[in-house]
Every structure is written in C-alpha cells, then in structure tokens.
C-alpha cells in the first residue's frame, strides 16, 4: 500500500475493485466503517455482490477480466467532464473549481512531450515499437522528447562528490535528459493529449457492453469517484488478487495508478493505491526480492545483459536524478553484508559470485509457472518449498503434481502435511512410479519463534516468542543454519563446483553460539563495517539509510528498512528498538501512529506525501495536514517523502514530489512496462468474447501460452466464465485454517457459487454436488445457488459466470476436498509472470 490500514478512515470515497476486504481482510472494516460513518461514499465494483458490496452505497457488477475497460472509461469521463471544460479558464485565471489542475500539471508527466514516433493502432491493438518476430516491444518511442541534458557534478564541492571517494567502484555517471514540456497541455504529443486520444474509444456504451454494466450505475460510479478530483477531497482504491491475477494484471495496477493521478489522489491522507496483500509477510518477501530477477529492497538481481557486472549494474540502474541516484550505495552495502571481508573494491565487492539470471531475449524463464515445465524436462531436479504449497496453489495444479513427480528430491518445510509434501500419494498419482525422495521438515508456529513481520501498510512489527515449538519443530531460521553449515562443511572437506560463492558468504548470525534472529535484524538495518564484528557480538548500527556509503564502509542487506533496528544501546533487545515501539498515542489525529513500531522507508506512513500540499507547500486539505511550508521551514507531521532539507538548510517547495523517479513527477504514461505504455483492454486467455476495443484478442505479450499444458478449451465446450475467491473462515490452501477444527466446522466445504438463473437452466438445486471441468482438470464441489451472482449481458448476449472457493485439498484430518486450482490456467502477465486465476472458462453439470 502507498497508505496504511488506519488511513482508510480519512477517505471521502472508497472504491473496491478486485477486493472483498470485508471478507478477506476483516480488519479493514473497522477503518472503512469509520470513513463511512463520517459520510464517505463507498463503491464496490465486483462480479459478485460480496460482503463488501453489502456494506457499500453503490454496487456495480463487472465481468471478470474487464477492469481496464472500466478504468479507461473513467479516464475518458474525467477528461470530458472534469478536465477539458475548464482547462482554458484554469490556465488563464488559476481557478481550479472541481478539478485539481495544479496537481496534474506540476506533479505528473501530463505536460511532457512524447517521442514523435509514439503511436497506438486500434486495428492491431499494438503500440509503436512492436517486433512481431520476438513478440516484444522496443520502448524507444515511449520516451520523452529532450529539452536539454545535464551531467553529474562529481567535483569535491559537487552533489555527487561521493562518486570519487576511495572504495567506490568505477562507473560512468548518468546523464539527466530533461524532458520537453507544454504547460498548456495543447501540444498533440504531450502525455495529456495522448491519454485523451487513446481513451476516446472507451465510451460509456463501449464500457457497459464489454463489462456487462448498467449505464446509469456506471455513470454514478464515475461521477461519485470523480468527485475526489476536487482539491481537498480524497478517494482511495483498494484492490487485491482480483486485479493482479490476470494476463494483464500489472496493467490493471497501472490503470489504478493513472486513475489516482488524474484525480490527484496519490500521497494524500485517505488516498493512495492500496494493495491488500494476501500473505502475512508477503510484503516482507516482496521487499526481500525473493524472486528470480529481484534483489532485496527493490533493486534488481544480477543478469547476463544490462547487469552482467557491477559496473554495468551501476550504469544501468543508477538514476540520473531523484533519490535513486544513491543506488550505488545500496548495492555496495548489500554486497558488503553478503560477503563481509571477502568483498573488496578490487573484486567488485564479490558481485560475480552472485548467480546471473539469463536475460537475453528468448532466454528460458525461471519463474514459478516455468519451473514446472523445467521439472518435466528434467532441468530442475531439486526443489525447496518453504511454507508454500504449489500442488494446491499453483495454476493447473494437476500439471504441477505430474511435473513434481519428475524431481529427484523435494524438501518441504511446513507445519502440516501439505498437498505438495504428499503429492506422490494424491488420489490421481501412483507412488510406486514416483522416484522422488521427499523430506518433510517440521516448522515452528508464528508464536513459537521471534522475528520481524510486515503488514500491507509497510509496518515492521516484532513477534515475540511465547512458547517453545512442539516436539522437534524448528524455526525456518534454524533449518537454514543447519543446512548451510552442513553444505559448507561438505565444500570445505571435498571441494566441488566453484565453492567460492559459498565459502565467501558471510554467515555469522549467532548469539552465544546459537543462530539468532537479532543479528540478522542488524544485517537488515545496516551497520558500519569497520566497527562491527558479529562473531564478537559487536555491532555499530546505522541510524538510517542516509548514512550508507558506496565505498564499502557500510553494510546493509535492506536499505529501505534501515532505521527499524538502530539502537546501539540495546542491540539484543527488540523491545528497545524502533520496531518494538508501542506508543499508540497518535498525535497526528490522522491515525499515522508514528510512534508505533516502524514503517519503511524512514518511518514514513504515507508514501509520496509531498503531494498532499500544493506547489506553495500548503495542504490541499488543511484539516488533514501531513506537512506544511510556513514560509521559512517545513512543519512535518509525517516523515517527508521529498527533499525538505539539504546541507542543513531547509529546501523551499518545488515540484519534485515523486523523487523515487528520475523525472520526480509521476507517470500517466510509462515506458517502464513491458506490454504497453498505457493500459489497454484485452480479453482474458479464455474468454467467450472477441475484443471489441482493438484488433488483438489477448495481451500481445501474454506469457506461457506456448506450453502445451495450458490447454485452452475453446468456448463452445466451455461456455461458462469462472473465477476463484476466498471465504473469511479459511486461508489460501488451508494449510493452517483446515488444521483448526473450529474453522472447518464454520466452513466445512468448498463450493461453486452460481446465480439462480444459471442453476435453473442446469436443473441444479442448492446443496447438489456439481462437477466443474475443463481441459486441465475436473472437480466436484457443492452447488451454492445465490442472488449474489447475476447473469451478465455482454454485447447483447446473456453470459453466466460462477465463482469457486479454493481452500481444500486431499490432505489434512479435518477438511478435505478437490483441488480447485486443477482448473485455473497456467498463463501469465508479461511484467510479473503472475497467473490468470481470476478469469477462465469451464463447463458445469450436476454430479
């Protein structure tokens, strides 16, 4: 989230799209209810009348997978009704009325001129730069026109003098290309005009036809949410996997950003783009960069092209302006923490010991979905599952089981026998034919170990160990240490394939000879290298990331966390660290709770918060002040997300309000996406309808359709749209919730929810067993006939949609059932490789 849970109370209009938070993030209700009680309007856009819709003022049904049409229609509505009518008047008089022109002009790239070659062709559904042979884009024409260039001043008195310090790796510093702008927004190549042109096709009628919406309701949604464009008003969008799990899920997310930027809703109290994350510490795992191409703290992992050496990393990743000019400090400090004394400027701080991910066009992909193909091919032979259960949670789960049967060995660390641990004895598998050795390592429960966890609002909170683990269960931390110690012993004694990356890895997180969470916290926070010696129990913790250097003098695994554990007076006591703070006396009156725990970065509670003030530094809404420029200094209620002081001097207000981007303005159009600079509607991989807005049926860059296992069924045999969702009593694969008898009693089985109309058509009665199937799998579940789903009318045709819960599987004592993810398609988004769980086709019959 750019915001946090307690900030929901500050909003004027709530928009749920792709989230049913009242059911799945129940604590959200407390804070949404406070806003609602105060008079905020609440909109829910969802295929189903959910528990969240029940609370809302406006419910607008939407066919699964058509969110971009909905958002595009909103941009069109905003431009036609709010921006264009009074733009000239604003330019002449500065009067804003119901639209925040100042935000649009000064804080976004609306006025930036795009390359003259920039184009989109509705006939083909493709942007300029498409290469049919590789099915990829060159983003060259998605960039800006250049006004002038500036180089870094690395002289002794310059801003970038640190580049020349001893110990800083050599690299060519970047050149800042200042974009050409038209502050009247009239130039046809300016981003605003291009956005306007692009979404002209997204009329109310077109959107209603594609999404299956009612025009009056849709207009009410647009005008209600559009009312937040007025300076001082706030609109908040809440989303979850309903937005991301599509073959254009990343563009769905972009679409919400663009909407929020057009309405001036980013960086203000009660605003933001708020992902309600789906795992207790998935925020932490994302921050940690536990993904093929990622590196901790939103840096990028080493690869074979633009990051094939430390120098190349520095030259491709360091921004020409804004805060990411500091990236060399982050990566060198990360290397120093990783390899310790073995990392020196002479050996590029050990950079080449890191594995490099293949990244040339056409190279094999190694993300989640592809790993199962690689198991089938015999490339991947060994597999670790750390509290994750792909035989249940991965799309096309039957394919996953069959692929895993080809593994030599599998290690599962979990608290229960998951479907993955027991894949070899699944009902459709024959153990005698499966040669995989499987190890099950029993793990400690959350209250049987200490450590740091992050919530969706980026709060780092400390968990205290209450009890010892049962029997032989151990925290994963200890498992890692046991394995690592033994692996190191083998390499020391026997040698083997290049032992250097292993034997040079710093692994000294012990207290009194026992592996311990706290020294790892030191590593995450960062410390001064020279004054620290973990083996001797000595550490000199950094106050925060502003103290990091690119010269090897500091070590830090996670620059964004720096400051969460920085009290050198009590390095072994989390209760005396910023993360351990428990002062719930909120002085801001806005629920910032700045003295409770710690929020990354730098205890900032609302990201991009400089945008809560106008260009003079005055809050858009004086009643909800995050900061204010008083004429000589900044009064900061939240930690400022901008340069408020430099060299001890206060910096007066400027327009660099998004300083994590080199432009320091936010992007309505972005060259950073793989599959297009502006969100464009495409149909899901499996859809009964042709794309009515452009000539490309699917996302032109949709991933993994070449894998035979994806098994598209065809719309004649499989005419029913299906989606999946959760119930409040269960959690994901049910590994935890199905082991609790009370929860299984409360929700004993999974179901296929369907409309009364569809049930009548098929002769299905409530409680009947139904078979739901497609070419990938077949499951039998209970029929749940409700008024919450209604048939859609799409392009004049009646279309049925059903929903399935997905928490059950064949293992466990208390609640078993078929694996619904046997049905979902293993295709994905080209930016994130996230699968398309939320819109696919099935057929249904009474079982």
């Amino acid at each position: 989230m750019t915001s946090h849970w307690c900030d929901f109370q500050n909003t004027d209009v709530i928009l749920h799209c792709g989230s049913n938070s009242v059911e799945n993030h129940p604590v959200s209700s407390l804070w949404l209810g406070k806003a609602h009680d105060r008079g905020a309007k609440w909109i829910v856009v969802d295929p189903r009348y959910t528990r969240t819709a029940e609370q809302a003022d406006i419910y607008c049904p939407i066919r699964s997978g058509t969110d971009i049409a909905f958002y595009g229609g909103m941009y069109h509505w905003i431009i036609e009704n709010l921006i264009d009518p009074n733009l000239e008047k604003y330019l002449a008089t500065g009067e804003m009325g119901d639209y925040n022109y100042e935000y649009l002009l000064n804080y976004t790239n609306a006025s930036y001129l795009l390359d003259p070659e920039f184009d989109f062709d509705p006939e083909t559904g493709l942007y300029s730069g498409w290469d049919e042979k590789t099915k990829t884009y060159s983003n060259h024409s998605w960039h800006y026109q250049t006004e002038k260039e500036e180089n870094w001043d690395t002289s002794a008195s310059g801003d970038y003098a640190w580049v020349k310090k001893d110990g800083v790796p050599e690299f060519t510093t970047p050149t800042l290309t200042l974009p050409k702008r038209d502050m009247t927004l009239q130039d046809p190549m300016c981003v605003y005009q291009q956005v306007k042109k692009h979404y002209e096709r997204y009329t109310l009628d077109a959107v209603c036809d594609i999404c299956g919406m009612d025009k009056e309701t849709l207009e009410l949604v647009y005008s209600t949410y559009g009312s937040t464009a007025k300076p001082g008003r706030a609109g908040m969008v809440l989303y979850a996997l309903g937005q991301t799990q599509h073959s254009y899920g990343a563009q769905n997310t972009r679409a919400m950003c663009v909407m929020q930027l057009l309405l001036g809703n980013i960086g203000i109290p009660g605003g933001g783009v708020n992902a309600l994350r789906g795992e207790p510490n998935v925020q932490g795992a994302t921050d940690m960069g536990m993904m093929v191409n990622e590196h901790p703290a939103y840096l990028k992992w080493a690869n074979t092209t633009d990051r094939s050496s430390l120098r190349k990393w520095l030259e491709s990743q360091t921004y020409s302006a804004g805060y990411y000019t500091n990236k060399p400090k982050f990566i060198v400090s990360s290397l120093k923490e990783w390899f310790g004394d073995a990392a020196t400027v002479e050996n590029d701080y050990g950079y080449d010991w890191w594995p490099k991910v293949p990244s040339e066009k056409g190279d094999q992909d190694y993300t989640h979905i592809s790993t199962f193909e690689l198991m089938k091919q015999g490339v991947i032979k060994g597999y670790f599952n750390w509290g994750m259960n792909p035989c249940h949670s991965a799309p096309n789960a039957g394919n996953v089981r069959r692929s895993m049967a080809n593994l030599d060995w599998l290690v599962v660390a979990d608290q229960v026998e998951t479907e993955s641990a027991a894949f070899w004895k699944a009902p459709d598998m024959n153990p005698a034919e499966i040669q995989t050795t499987v190890y099950f390592l029993p793990c400690a429960l959350i209250y049987e170990k200490p450590g740091t966890i992050l919530n969706s609002g980026r709060w780092l909170q400390w968990r205290y160990q209450a009890v010892e683990p049962w029997d032989q269960a151990k925290p994963d931390l200890e498992m890692c240490d046991l394995l690592w110690t033994e692996i190191c012993r083998l390499y020391k004694e026997e040698g083997g394939a290049n032992p250097a990356p292993i034997l040079n890895t710093k692994w000294d997180y012990y207290v009194n000879g026992k592996i311990d969470f706290r020294p790892v916290s030191w590593a995450l926070n960062g410390y001064r290298t020279a004054n620290s010696d973990f083996k001797a129990g000595k550490v000199d913790l950094l106050k925060g990331y502003s103290e990091l250097g690119a010269d090897g003098s500091t070590s830090c695994a996670m620059w964004i966390y720096s400051g969460f554990y920085n009290n050198n007076d009590a390095p072994l006591d989390p209760a005396q660290q910023p993360i351990g703070r428990r002062d719930n006396n909120d002085k801001s009156g806005l629920g910032l709770n700045s003295n409770w725990a710690f929020s990354w970065p730098s205890n900032r509670r609302i990201l991009y918060n400089r945008n809560s003030c106008d260009t003079k530094g005055k809050p858009w809404n004086p009643d909800k002040k995050l900061m204010e420029w008083d004429g000589s200094k900044w009064d900061l209620v939240d930690q400022g997300d901008f340069v408020s002081a430099k060299n001890g001097q206060q910096v007066p207000p400027n327009n660099n309000t998004f300083f994590m981007l080199w432009e320091q303005n936010a992007r309505l159009e972005s060259y950073g996406m793989e599959d297009g600079p502006m969100p464009e509607h495409y149909e899901p991989f499996e859809s009964p309808f042709d794309n009515a807005l452009n000539g490309s049926q699917n996302n032109p860059m949709i991933k993994f359709t070449e894998y035979e296992s994806t098994a598209h069924g065809g719309t004649d045999e499989y005419p029913i749209i299906a989606t999946t969702y959760s119930v409040t009593e269960h959690w994901q694969t049910g590994g935890q919730s199905r082991s609790c008898p009370a929860l299984v009693e409360a929700m004993p089985s999974q179901f296929c929810e369907m409309s009364e109309e569809f049930a009548a058509e098929k002769g299905i009665k409530p409680g009947d067993k139904v078979r739901v199937w497609n070419k990938r799998g077949s499951v039998v579940v209970d029929a749940y006939v409700t008024k919450r789903l209604k048939p859609f009318t799409i392009h004049g045709k009646t279309q049925h949609q059903v929903g399935l819960t997905h928490h059950f599987g064949w293992t466990h004592l208390y609640g078993t059932g078929d694996t619904v993810n046997d049905l979902t398609p293993n295709v994905g988004d080209p930016n994130t490789m996230v699968p398309e769980y939320k819109a696919f086709l099935v057929n249904i019959e009474k079982a």
Binding site: W5, H25, P26, V27, R277, Q283, G284, T286, M290, T304, D352, T367, T371, L374, I380, G382, F384, N385, W386, M388, P395, V416, P431, I434, T437, Y439, P442, L445, I446, Y447, I453, N455, S456, L460, Q465, A466, W470, Q472, L477, L483, E486, L490, G496, A497, I502, S521, Y561, A575, G580, R582, N584, G591, E729, W731, S737, S739, C740, L743, A746, P835
Partner: protein, 200 residues
C-alpha cells in the same frame, strides 16, 4: 486498565523482563475484586505477536503458564485491530492445541506434523528420520545436484556462477530474518529459480 496494560506491555519482549511483566499483572488495579486462583489468566506471562493470516498486521496477546499457551486474544493496545480478531485470527490457538472431542482435554493439534519425515523413492508411506540424518542427506543431495549442473560461465564466456537444477519456493509465511537467510543460502548456492507467494 489501558494504562496499566500498556505499562507492562512495554516491559515484555525482552526475555529478562517477562518476570517483571508477570509482577505487574499481579498488581493490576483494574481487577475490581481479588483474583481467584481458578481464573484462566491468573499467573500467566503475556507476549505480543502478529497474526499469521492476511497482511493486516493485527496484534495478538498470548498468555502462557508453565511454558504452555493458555490463551490467545486480540491485543487491545494495538492501533490497527484495537483488540479485535477475525475468525481465523481468533482460532490461532488451535494451530498448536485443540480440545479433544472425547476427553474434553486440551491436547496437541493432531493435524500438525512435529517430527522430520522422509518418503523414499517408490514408497507409499512416510518414514521417520532424525534431524541429523535429514540435514546430512539433504546437504548431500544439494551438493551433488549443484556439482553436476553448475555453470561457472555461459556460452559467451561470462561468469554466471549458477545452477538451473535447484528451485526454491516460498517466504511469505516466514519472518523477514528467515527470508533473508533463505534467500542468501539459495543465491549463494547459485539458484536462479527462486520465487515466493508474491508471484501469485
């Protein structure tokens, strides 16, 4: 009640401070009557934790007596959940202990697996294994797989130090310190196929 509770909560967490927290609970002026030794939470130590389900980050309060979990409830001082828990959060106690439907005794949750196991090739059942043997066997398999597939350089002669033959999945259920060590172990082995719940 709030003030007293907050006062002693500040003291919990540090291992040495739990006895002080214990003393403070005994002195709580919020108890309008003398405590009764039958009361469920008498003579317990309290620890704070964070829920293991959605990413709300709700605080929980765990009461422990003689090393065993006695009660789990929402943390009333926590600014996000203010003492509330959802059905799943409220049932977190059962992850460890349940009530035996026959005897009505609190017993260890029988659905949980608390010892290492191994399933051998072709076998249809699990076998028990010691931690020591499991660790030795896994380390051997990791080394053999890595050694057989390790690529020090790629086709262009670039140093790549990787193995495509090992994959690692998961991390969002672990604490951040554990995430770092999982990542560090895997990357230093040369693993590129690393992913977690954020990918879905």
């Amino acid at each position: 009640m709030n003030l007293t509770r907050r006062g002693f909560m500040k003291a919990t967490g540090a291992a040495f401070a739990t006895s002080m927290a214990f003393q403070l609970t005994q002195q709580s002026p919020a108890l309008a009557v003398e405590s009764n030794s039958d009361w469920k939470l008498v003579n317990t130590e309290e620890y704070t934790n964070i829920c293991c389900y959605c990413a709300g980050g709700c605080g929980s309060l765990l009461s422990v007596r003689d090393g065993e979990l006695i009660n789990l409830e929402g943390d009333p001082d926590h600014p996000i959940n203010q003492g509330g828990l959802c059905p799943k959060g409220a049932a977190m106690f059962q992850l460890r202990n349940i009530v035996d439907p026959e005897t009505r005794e609190v017993i260890k949750n029988p659905d949980r697996v608390t010892k290492p196991m191994v399933r051998r090739p072709g076998a249809s059942e699990w076998e028990d294994i010691t931690w020591e043997d499991a660790v030795k066997e896994i380390a051997r398999k990791v080394k053999d797989t890595r050694d057989a597939t390790f690529e020090e350089t790629d086709k262009n002669g670039l140093t790549v130090n990787r193995t495509p033959a090992i994959a690692s999945l998961g991390g969002s259920q672990e604490n951040s310190e554990e995430e770092y060590l999982i990542l560090k172990m895997m990357r230093s082995l040369g693993v590129i196929a690393i992913d977690n719940q954020a990918r879905v």
